[in-house]
Symmetry: C2
Subunit: 240 residues, 2 copies
């Protein structure tokens, strides 16, 4: 597998993303943007991008805070995330930077691009779609659904899948209901998969180290189920 | 493919179910019960059972009203369904009759049984599980979720998947929310897949003939998505 660092400017930051793809494959392949959890671009998103590259995609694990900065303190990162949540244009700018970097690669089939993300990274994938980016699909895993610009849903060009823990305290039934209403009003092709007994960060084995199992907890079964759902979704959106 | 009619008594009725399986296969295979829409055992459930047989399962398309009776008038069938909804024990008895008939077949691996159903047939699959039947999983497609015995959810031994149209007027967000609460209280391993822009009977091409597209409408995309979700669910529950 080949790895490259792609640098780009976005929202005034110097982004350092990690590109993964299998070498020696001819022809253009679908490209996948992978947006990380709120802490920044760490091992979790990179490992998922490598898995995607192993499946034949060109995968770009995108930077969130610039300079590949990773926070280890939720208290330090939440004010930054809170400010972004008020400014969808800034979230979209950071995501679009990754999209443009990916589209600049000759290996990538520009007609077959998807964005996935985890936690706030899921929000980034959704905001990229809400901004009207030419992507075939967006997938959010334990993804924040709320947006300051729900009226933009009609700009979504691709399909949307969100995979959520039904007991995620951060994405409660009211937030799900508002998202449903937003997607319905925007006439989006959307799907929501709910996993019973599952909370936040269910795809991330490192979540348990947070020591807040009622809020964030790895769940191998939901991780496998949501990954399989994403693969089926890609098979559908990249077909034909 | 082999076809046989299996007769059994259940809830005072003489049931006539249709069994489908590939001939010439050695060894026991997983068995799937297929419960039909409220109208009774017609071509829709039979065709799904045949598809399952083609995938290597032993599939039993179960009778609902006895003597393989199929109603063509919703007005005639709804009073019967309404009475059943008040009497979960009767729904379970009808479903259990199919389960016992399937388990009596030497080709069937009794440790690998699932029940699926459409509309009221989904309710039958769920009630079979609520009654404590030894099945590995239950799948409901545009399935009625309400039950007169939510306190029985703790008896569910297998896993549960429901695939629903997010705009199904017959299975609204209040019903979904009550189901979530029921599954949570019963500590069930459950999943719910929601499809945006989709209403009732989305798996049934004959739904369009009803002429009520805001209530019931075939949706090829949601049909394919939910079938793929069921297959992934079977792969999981029948593994190992």
């Amino acid at each position: 597998m080949r790895t490259e660092i792609l640098s780009y400017e976005a929202d005034g930051l110097n982004m350092q993303a990690s590109l993964y793809f299998e070498a020696g494959v001819s022809g253009q392949r679908p490209g996948i943007l992978v947006f990380p959890e709120a802490f920044g671009l760490g091992e979790h998103a990179k490992s998922r991008a490598r898995k995607l590259a192993g499946l034949g995609y060109i995968a770009l694990a995108c930077d969130l805070h610039g300079e590949s900065k990773v926070f280890d303190d939720l208290g330090a990162v939440m004010p930054l995330i809170g400010a972004l949540r008020e400014a969808p244009a800034r979230i979209r700018a950071r995501a679009q930077g990754g999209l443009h970097a990916l589209l600049a690669r000759p290996e990538v089939d520009a007609s077959r691009i998807a964005a996935i993300g985890y936690c706030f990274g899921g929000t980034m994938a959704l905001e990229l779609a809400r901004g009207g980016a030419p992507i075939a699909g967006a997938v959010g895993f334990h993804s924040g659904l709320a947006t300051a610009a729900p009226q933009d849903a009609h700009q979504i060009k691709g399909k949307v899948l969100v995979c959520l823990g039904a007991d995620d305290p951060g994405i409660d039934s009211d937030q799900r209901k508002a998202f449903e209403a937003e997607m319905r009003a925007g006439k989006v092709d959307w799907q929501m998969n709910l996993y019973g007994g599952v909370v936040h960060s269910f795809t991330n084995p490192a979540a348990d180290a947070m020591g807040r199992p009622d809020f964030a907890r790895y769940d191998a079964k939901a991780d496998a189920r949501s990954w399989a759902a994403m693969r089926a979704f890609f098979d559908e959106i990249f077909a034909g």
